[in-house]
């Protein structure tokens, strides 16, 4: 699919910058006439991706890089949001899937970000290494199972 419209955004790695990022992503989602509920899901996913970067990346450049793109074959079909940092990366093999029954008893109740992102977006890809992490999230304009109906 081709990129029909794109927006680049660079934010400081600081608390509440996630709200700035999600507002921009939601503005683009609304521009492509995504339904309000799906826009809300994009909002939440972008917030979580940004919070992960703000809290864990330790990026030396102190910035969060956001790329928002409307993609499709001639007409808007999906919104793609990439949240990238130039931080220390992480080992995906060491990620533990959070479970509520364990979290209720655990001292540390956090660690839900990726699970929430994967639950709210249609496609999620993570690229991570020594030069940083990119969370690439895609939300189709229309809910996949209702697209043909």
């Amino acid at each position: 699919m081709a990129v029909l419209k794109e927006v680049e955004l660079t934010l400081n790695l600081a608390p509440e910058m996630e709200v700035e990022a999600c507002e921009k992503a939601c503005a683009v989602a609304e521009f492509m006439a995504m339904s309000p509920d799906r826009v809300d899901e994009v909002r939440m996913a972008v917030i979580e991706a940004c919070i992960n970067a703000i809290e864990h990346s330790s990026a030396e450049d102190g910035h969060l890089h956001i790329h928002i793109a409307v993609v499709g074959d001639g007409k808007p079909e999906a919104l793609q949001v990439t949240v990238r940092d130039q931080g220390v990366g992480f080992d995906p093999e060491k990620l533990v899937q959070p479970k509520i029954e364990e979290k209720l008893k655990a001292q540390r109740k956090r660690g839900w970000g990726l699970k929430i992102i994967e639950g709210l977006m249609d496609q999620v890809r993570i690229e991570t290494g020594a030069d940083g992490t990119a969370v690439i999230m895609c939300k189709k304009l229309v809910e996949p199972r209702s697209a043909s109906g």
Partner: protein
């Protein structure tokens, strides 16, 4: 910058309703926890969080809500949520919170459950 979360408490016979207005992030979650624990200290064992005024939450804020759920289980109290946006409702289900707390569409239904 976003405005901080505002909380209003309505103490009724047997149930306290906490209304949230704004973003439930780490700070907002801590404020809700403080109010909830104060209500437990006052003897309330049935709490309702009405999120009608909250359009955004994050996982840090929800993690603090999990602490409140844990506390309510410990004291054998009841905690319920109502007026969630579809996305917050979906997020609570993704995380599995719905297994350990009750979620209602509106306040009347929730209060009936908590006081019943």
């Amino acid at each position: 910058m976003t405005e901080s979360l505002k909380l209003t408490v309505d103490k009724r016979d047997g149930v306290a309703v906490v209304y949230t207005d704004g973003y439930i992030n780490n700070q907002g979650g801590e404020e809700i926890a403080k109010v909830a624990y104060d209500l437990l200290d006052e003897g309330y064992r049935a709490l309702l969080l009405n999120l009608a005024g909250t359009k955004i939450v994050n996982s840090i804020g929800i993690s603090i809500l999990i602490e409140i759920i844990e506390k309510m289980i410990e004291v054998e109290g009841k905690l319920a949520f109502c007026n969630l946006t579809p996305t917050i409702d979906k997020t609570f289900h993704i995380m599995g919170l719905a297994q350990y707390t009750s979620i209602f569409e509106d306040e009347t239904e929730a209060v009936t459950h908590l006081t019943g």
